[in-house]
Symmetry: C2
Subunit: 256 residues, 2 copies
DNA sequence: GGTCAACTGCGTACACTGTACGAAGAATAG
DNA sequence: CTATTCTTCGTACAGTGTACGCAGTTGACC
């Protein structure tokens, strides 16, 4: 599936929508819907059935209105997605944990992970040039505080936050895809592998890939439970923070 | 956009297609097309105009045949994507570099990066349960050799390769999206930011986000050239390999 | 109170998508 | 020569986002 991208209309209109600063019109019939009401329904559909199911007609049906009615409240689907994104970002607790930068970055990673797991469709919306709504701004600010005052340059701070966010995105994406592929196919990874081995053996000389066979089998035997995603996440996060720690150590104690 | 997922038909048919083991039929007219010919055209379209442009009708038009003709060669679009994926994986040089595991993992990361940059649509096809074609198998085998014999368990080997691949995927995705958003909007990130600041200032109290303002401005000033993607990639890869190095160090010298 | 501008709701239409179905014709086995 | 198998592909269907324009409602102003 494709990446959904957000609205590209003029900034003023978009920000008005995100910050709910649209001046109420004086004339004409009172609108029967609200931006928040539409967003709530859209979120319900996207959370329960995925972005692919969240068509404009579907959201409109759910509200009992015609499809084109939505376009009185949002210039297009992109802007609706923008507001949805900013809305769910508001669910982040944004806890400031006591301790060092590592504990803080760990918290950032975990909260983002929770959010992605709760709203998997987030994985499919582009994060470049995010809609600058109140919650998007607050999230970025909170993430930067995790790496403030530990000797990094501004550029390194941004790169580090982006690195952690990118990691979480990838890890959750893998986990969510794994969950979905099991549902869609009705097979676990192990069953899938076992269904392919006989044909592969006959067709493609499985002996030519000894490492793959060995490691693939080990992975299949060990990891067929949903806990493997948790495990992989922890493993990767440890590696990543270890890596950041090398950089931070160099900065705080410059003379190695 | 949504993630495209691959064919879910029976393994035998899929593997037959991937390894080109379809028995030639004895009766009936000779097919005018070939699997490879169709894949070549599909790749051309996907590389040049993205997955969204690569519809079945479009590929068929390009070949001068009817759309349904393609379904004589592939059960569905998913299987066509499977063969495309395995085909471009064949472009990997799969160099085995002299030196330690770090040099080898570095090479893995860089070759994958090159591949993603050359075929950005790869970022949009699901990588869970990849089509087990010859090149997919060879790629995995080659990646595992990079971390073989350095004291990691089979599970850690797989996790490490997945970690590096996941990182590259995320980093290139960000870079490619950045490139595309500049093309689509005709604005650099800096121009985009400067177009929003006045409205944000008026609407949303920019002073409430001091770190974001400071770091955002620094990033905007410094990174408006395409080289920032290169920079971010190097930075993240360093951190990641540093993290792996901590683990490998512990394994090879168990008593810390 | 009447008029007009502004506004809401929304039906219809258009150009797309993947692909199921089945008809028409070609090539070969018997 | 016939029957079978195979290829090509037109048509159709249920979707998608959204441009356009019409009908009806509301409030501001004279």
């Amino acid at each position: 599936m494709n990446q959904e991208h957000s609205g590209s209309g003029d900034p003023a209109k978009s920000l008005e929508l995100l910050w709910r600063r649209r001046p109420a019109p004086t004339r004409g019939p009172k609108p029967a819907q609200t931006v928040d009401g539409i967003v709530a329904v859209a979120l319900q559909v996207a959370d329960a059935e995925g972005l692919a199911a969240m068509s404009m007609r579907r959201v409109a049906d759910e509200l009992g209105v015609g499809a084109m009615t939505l376009y009185r409240y949002f210039p297009g689907k992109g802007e609706l997605l923008d507001v949805m994104l900013d809305t769910v970002y508001g669910e982040l607790p944004r806890r400031v944990v006591p301790g060092d930068w590592r504990a803080a970055l760990d918290e950032v990673a975990r909260e983002n992970r929770e959010l992605y797991l709760r709203h998997p469709w987030l994985l499919q919306v582009a994060i470049n040039r995010p809609p600058l709504g109140p919650n998007v701004m607050a999230k970025y600010e909170w993430e930067l505080t995790a790496v403030e005052g530990i000797g990094l340059t501004d550029l390194e701070m941004d790169a580090t936050v982006a690195l952690v966010n990118g990691y979480v995105h990838g890890a959750v994406r893998t986990a969510v895809e794994a969950r979905q592929v099991i549902q869609r196919s009705g097979m676990t990874d192990k069953e899938w592998w076992l269904a392919h081995v006989p044909h592969l053996d006959q067709i493609g000389d499985l002996d030519k890939f000894p490492l793959s066979s060995r490691v693939g089998t080990a992975v299949g035997n060990e990891f067929d439970a949903p806990y493997d995603a948790e495990h992989a996440f922890e493993y990767g996060l440890e590696r990543l923070l270890d890596g950041v720690s090398v950089l931070v150590g160099n900065r705080t104690a410059p003379e190695g």
